[in-house]
């Protein structure tokens, strides 16, 4: 039971000196985007994987974190590092709001998924029409490269930040696997009525999962903004973020500590390959994602983390057959 936690810690430690070894911007960018996917996927995993509340609108939290970062520094001159913290808080608050409303009315399963999607879409439309988000034109954050300004001249700086954020998310998943809260959350996922009968406050448990998930998504949004320095309503609240957030853990392994990281590596890899194969035609990467998802669901329903145990079983079975 301790191994995934140790493994995760080992992975983070092993990844830390990467910028010292890899000087290619291409590969550093790849590593950064992979970790960023891992953060977004782990955020979704805490709620959807461990809690069984499958959201289709994580863009609502991501986008709010992203806009909090951009708007607060552009309009109020807040330091972007403080914006990062605030983005987490804003994301968590939106998570709490969406959760409180949907759980209060007992929305589960596809109804919950639809409501989260609706929230993300409403936020997108609002962001498209109010002036302080720059509406359809978007927001450009002026280039002022300084570590104090959460903008780095070297990609290694961004790499360190996203590694730390993803490590926090992974640690949270590990904590969930070993804590009372996590056991409550899993019990709620498996059977709400039974959980309620055994003294678990089901709505409160789900709400906290929303807060954690929303907060991490807010961090992801903030990081995205500082890394690309540009934001528009489609980037922030569009469906692509929501789909990425759920595909990563679905492919890697729902409700596992390492699943989102494995899913992130796979999806980013696929993304790069599709860029080369299709010459960067927009939308084709989504088709490849879909194809991969079908293959995973058909042959590896536990996700990529299920591959190890499955191979071990197969090898054991083979040995018995030979004996």
């Amino acid at each position: 039971m301790k191994t995934p936690g140790l493994l995760a810690a080992a992975v983070v430690l092993a990844l830390a000196p990467l910028p010292l070894l890899v000087h290619s911007d291409f590969w550093l960018h790849f590593a950064i985007m992979t970790l960023y996917f891992g953060l977004l996927g782990q955020a979704w995993n805490l709620l959807g994987g461990y809690g069984g509340q499958r959201s289709f609108g994580h863009a609502a939290f991501f986008g709010t974190g992203a806009y909090a970062t951009a708007v607060l520094q552009l309009d109020l001159g807040v330091n972007p590092w403080i914006c990062l913290v605030l983005a987490g808080i804003f994301g968590a608050a939106v998570g709490a709001l969406v959760g409180a409303l949907s759980f209060r009315y007992g929305l589960r399963g596809s109804y919950f998924a639809l409501v989260t999607l609706a929230f993300a879409e409403v936020f997108r439309i609002v962001a498209d029409s109010v002036p302080f988000t720059g509406a359809g034109v978007g927001l450009q954050i002026p280039l002022r490269q300084a570590a104090a300004n959460f903008q780095f001249h070297e990609k290694a700086g961004f790499y360190a930040v996203i590694l730390a954020l993803t490590a926090i998310a992974t640690a949270l998943a590990w904590w969930i696997e070993h804590s009372r809260f996590g056991a409550d959350l899993v019990a709620v996922r498996e059977n709400e009525d039974a959980a309620r009968a055994l003294g678990i406050d089901v709505n409160r448990t789900k709400l906290w999962a929303m807060v954690l998930s929303g907060g991490l998504s807010g961090f992801a949004g903030s990081f995205y903004t500082q890394y690309f320095l540009y934001l528009d309503p489609r980037i922030a609240y569009g469906v692509e973020v929501s789909v990425t957030a759920l595909l990563v853990p679905l492919i890697g392994g729902l409700g596992t500590v390492l699943g989102p990281l494995m899913g992130a590596v796979t999806l980013r890899g696929l993304n790069e390959v599709s860029g080369i194969v299709t010459g960067g035609a927009p939308g084709l990467n989504l088709m490849l994602y879909g194809a991969l998802l079908i293959v995973i669901l058909a042959f590896l329903p536990e996700g990529l983390v299920g591959l190890g145990p499955r191979l071990r079983r197969a090898r054991l079975a083979g040995r018995f057959r030979h004996a």
């Binding site: 056991a183 009968a197 003294g199």
Partner: protein, 251 residues
């Protein structure tokens, strides 16, 4: 321990429970019986906080608990099991029971350790690391009981724990329930298996069409004309008595 007074519940035009009153005395086993569709499970749901009642009062340990949500009731010591077993399907037996233990245990590891004691109490010690999916119906019924016991209840509501068990499994379950009573837990159970009710319950309430039609000691209940008619149909008591008299005359 538990006093239900004048509880009524309607689902649209159907009155599932009408003016039902019953009492479960501290340290006793009280049974609620009745034909299918009599409203037993609805009344259970109301007592355990799962179904809101339209009228009436439910008092637990002297306090009104109508409208209190189930998780609060569990903390106060009123816990139910489900007729249709509701395991945490993806988890092991130990993890299932530990969820119940967590109600009184500060740490996860203490809960997991206590789960083993609870499993031993209900005779599931060997099954503790099995996935729930590998359990038989009898095993799942036991698990349902174990999880509820793990919360250290004062009043335990058992909804048909014998349903679906074979005679040998029932014979094993009866002493188990008696042992729970002897450990100081008050029990209210619904049951179809009359043999179990007869040997376990100190007091029996009979529910028919949502109304309590009889109450008393098990031996009184089985000879009650209203109860016989509720189970066997109108006029059954009369015919049965005739046959008994006929048999007695022949002897």
């Amino acid at each position: 321990m538990l006093e239900v007074t004048g509880v009524t519940k309607r689902f649209g035009g159907l009155t599932a429970v009408a003016e039902a009153s019953l009492e479960a005395r501290s340290g006793e086993i009280t049974a609620l019986i009745g034909p299918n569709g009599a409203g037993k499970t609805t009344l259970f749901g109301i007592v355990a906080g799962f179904i809101p009642a339209d009228r009436g009062s439910v008092r637990f340990a002297g306090e009104e608990i109508r409208g209190v949500p189930p998780h609060r009731l569990a903390r106060r010591g009123l816990v139910r099991t489900f007729q249709i077993v509701q395991p945490f399907a993806g988890l092991s037996v130990r993890e299932n029971i530990a969820v119940g233990c967590q109600l009184r245990q500060a740490s996860r590891s203490a809960a997991l350790a206590e789960a083993e004691d609870v499993a031993r109490r209900v005779g599931m010690a060997e099954l503790i690391d099995r996935p729930v999916g590998a359990l038989t119906i009898a095993g799942r019924k036991r698990l349902e009981l174990a999880r509820a016991l793990a919360t250290r209840p004062r009043l335990l509501l058992l909804d048909e724990v014998m349903a679906g068990l074979n005679p040998r499994e029932i014979a094993e379950m009866v002493p188990l329930i008696r042992a729970i009573r002897d450990s100081g837990v008050t029990l209210l159970l619904t049951e179809h298996v009359m043999q179990a009710v007869m040997s376990l319950a100190e007091r029996v309430y009979v529910l028919n069409d949502g109304r309590i039609i009889a109450e008393g000691r098990p031996a009184e209940i089985v000879t009650d004309a209203r109860v016989i008619e509720a189970y066997l149909g109108h006029g059954a008591a009369e015919r049965l008595r005739g046959r008994l008299a006929f048999g007695a005359a022949r002897a």
